[in-house]
């Protein structure tokens, strides 16, 4: 698997998190507009034979919603979306997300695009997988400057779920809502725990406190890679042409 691209590793890794048998089954997964890697992960799960309904917000032709852009949020409110993906300009050690900007409100430092639906989706979806490829102290901070969406809620506040995991370009963290902390689940090939620690602005746990016990993130299997480059790419070509060209070296027919 030495020729596996980073995006392929990430897609296969997220796919395993989606299929994690310790989690409630993901029957219906929604994927936001700018999320080709999570989309690839979900298509991969489908192609592996899991009957997941996948609603891609980014699809123009064949967009799954017939009640306007409101429908995703209504579906989620109804409890019909089991899993969603979120990222953030900043993510902190308590899994708070900042999509608004750095510095004073509303982003007097660097303004990010904005919260999108995060303040709702984070609390109303049973499972959330956080994904941010850039793993640096700039992104993974101790405390976000502004909270677009909070990682945990006080008792009594209606909330269906929390972050299941945070996947970055270097590693996989699990989130523990009971103590509002991340633990390191695996590091990607070529990364070390010390390296991850140096690149992370927040403090996190290592299971058993033993750095050497942290496993390497499993590489995609041959079957997974073949599916990603074949059937998954076929599905994604229309919606994510740039991603398919860059990662799978495939161009859409004119």
């Amino acid at each position: 698997m030495s020729n596996c691209k980073p995006e392929e590793l990430l897609a296969a890794t997220i796919c395993r998190l989606v299929l994690d048998p310790s989690q409630p089954t993901a029957r219906h997964v929604a994927v936001g507009a700018a999320s080709p890697v999570p989309a690839a992960a979900c298509y991969l799960a489908q192609k592996l034979g899991y009957p997941i309904r996948l609603s891609l917000l980014a699809r123009n032709l064949g967009n799954p919603f017939t009640d306007g852009t409101r429908e995703l949020f209504d579906l989620t409110g109804q409890g019909r979306i089991d899993l969603f993906f979120l990222g953030g300009g900043q993510i902190d050690g308590q899994a708070n997300l900042n999509l608004v900007g750095t510095g004073e409100w509303p982003g007097k430092g660097v303004r990010f695009p904005g919260s999108f639906g995060s303040a709702f989706m984070y609390m109303m979806t049973p499972r959330i997988i956080l994904f941010r490829e850039e793993h640096s102290p700039r992104v993974l901070v101790d405390k976000v400057d502004n909270i677009s969406a909070n990682g945990t809620s006080p008792p009594g506040v209606f909330r269906r779920g929390h972050a299941q995991a945070l996947v970055t370009g270097r590693c996989v963290f699990r989130f523990h809502p009971d103590r509002a902390r991340f633990s390191l689940a695996s590091v990607h090939a070529g990364e070390t725990v010390a390296g991850v620690r140096a690149a992370t602005g927040f403090d996190f746990d290592v299971p058993g406190g033993d750095d050497t016990a942290v496993p390497e993130t499993p590489a995609p299997s041959d079957q997974e890679l073949a599916l990603l480059r074949g059937a998954v790419c076929d599905e994604m070509l229309e919606t994510y042409p740039d991603f398919c060209a860059r990662v799978f070296n495939r161009k859409q027919a004119a």
Partner: protein, 274 residues
């Protein structure tokens, strides 16, 4: 129906109006945004339903905008919205951050004629902390200790969007993009650009009716061919990513933006050869 031309449509929007507009994955009327720039509109309060894109960056850059209420402003693949970011940094616009379903909910309250509507989530977000107009109450249907957000009705002065076609009665067809219907229902009036006008009455056609907004909600219509461009229009045309990238590059500076306006909005300067 009230069929007019694009510049007259823009003339119907007084300075200071609150305009609701869909973003780049829906049906923004970029043609009307450009006409508003040409007419020199000032003090507009834009509502992104539920986010904002190209047209908003354009209007902000041209100095037409006093306030933006939205859940995000972005050029999508082409990155952050350059003129919006610059105006925010310079303190030239008031920014009212929301979150997508909250925008929908505030418009639905207006659509329904109620003063507020509840929404789950949001509690704990700084968005709520910065919206003194949003309230938290204890859910009256629970036994106590169940806080829930109430959002006030939001009634834009005008809904502004682009549809595929209008009929002889002034009904417009825009397919599954029903956020535009919510915009039309919630706004005092809507101004719509269309690709074309066709004979007949869409409401008598069972196939077309479901994708229609009836003339009841629409103040005036103007034909603007490729009026969503550079944004995609259903299956009629695709997004012009080169156009947006070009904009994103030029609009990085105020000077580049002015040059872009001269070429693409005022058409006083020819476009550089690509």
């Amino acid at each position: 129906m009230n069929l007019t031309d694009l510049e007259s449509l823009a003339a119907r929007v007084p300075d200071g109006s609150r305009l609701a507009m869909p973003p780049d994955n829906s049906l923004p009327s970029v043609a009307l945004a450009k006409a508003l720039v040409r007419r020199g509109a000032r003090g507009l309060r834009l509502v992104g339903v539920p986010t904002s894109g190209f047209a908003t960056d354009l209007l902000v850059g041209a100095g037409c905008v006093a306030e933006v209420e939205t859940s995000a402003v972005s050029l999508g693949e082409a990155g952050f919205a350059p003129r919006f970011s610059a105006a925010l940094r310079a303190g030239e616009i008031v920014m009212k951050d929301a979150t997508c379903p909250a925008i929908h909910t505030m418009l639905q309250a207006s659509e329904k004629g109620v003063p507020f509507m509840p929404l789950r989530g949001i509690i704990g977000s700084d968005i709520l902390a910065h919206r003194p107009d949003w309230k938290v109450i204890d859910n009256p249907f629970a036994a106590g200790g169940d806080p829930i957000v109430l959002l006030p009705a939001l009634q834009p002065d005008f809904g502004i969007f682009h549809a595929v076609m209008a009929d002889s009665k002034g009904n417009v067809w825009l397919g599954r993009k029903r956020e535009c219907a919510t915009i039309a229902h919630a706004s005092r009036a809507s101004l719509v650009t269309v690709e074309r006008v066709v004979e007949g009455d869409f409401l008598t056609d069972e196939k077309l009716a479901p994708g229609c907004i009836s003339a009841t909600y629409i103040d005036a219509i103007a034909i603007a061919e490729r009026g969503a461009r550079p944004v995609a229009l259903l299956d009629e045309y695709r997004m012009d990513t080169a156009y947006i990238s070009d904009y994103a590059r030029m609009a990085k500076t105020a000077e580049g933006f002015s040059e872009w306006l001269a070429i693409h909005v005022f058409e006083t300067r020819a476009a550089a050869v690509a």
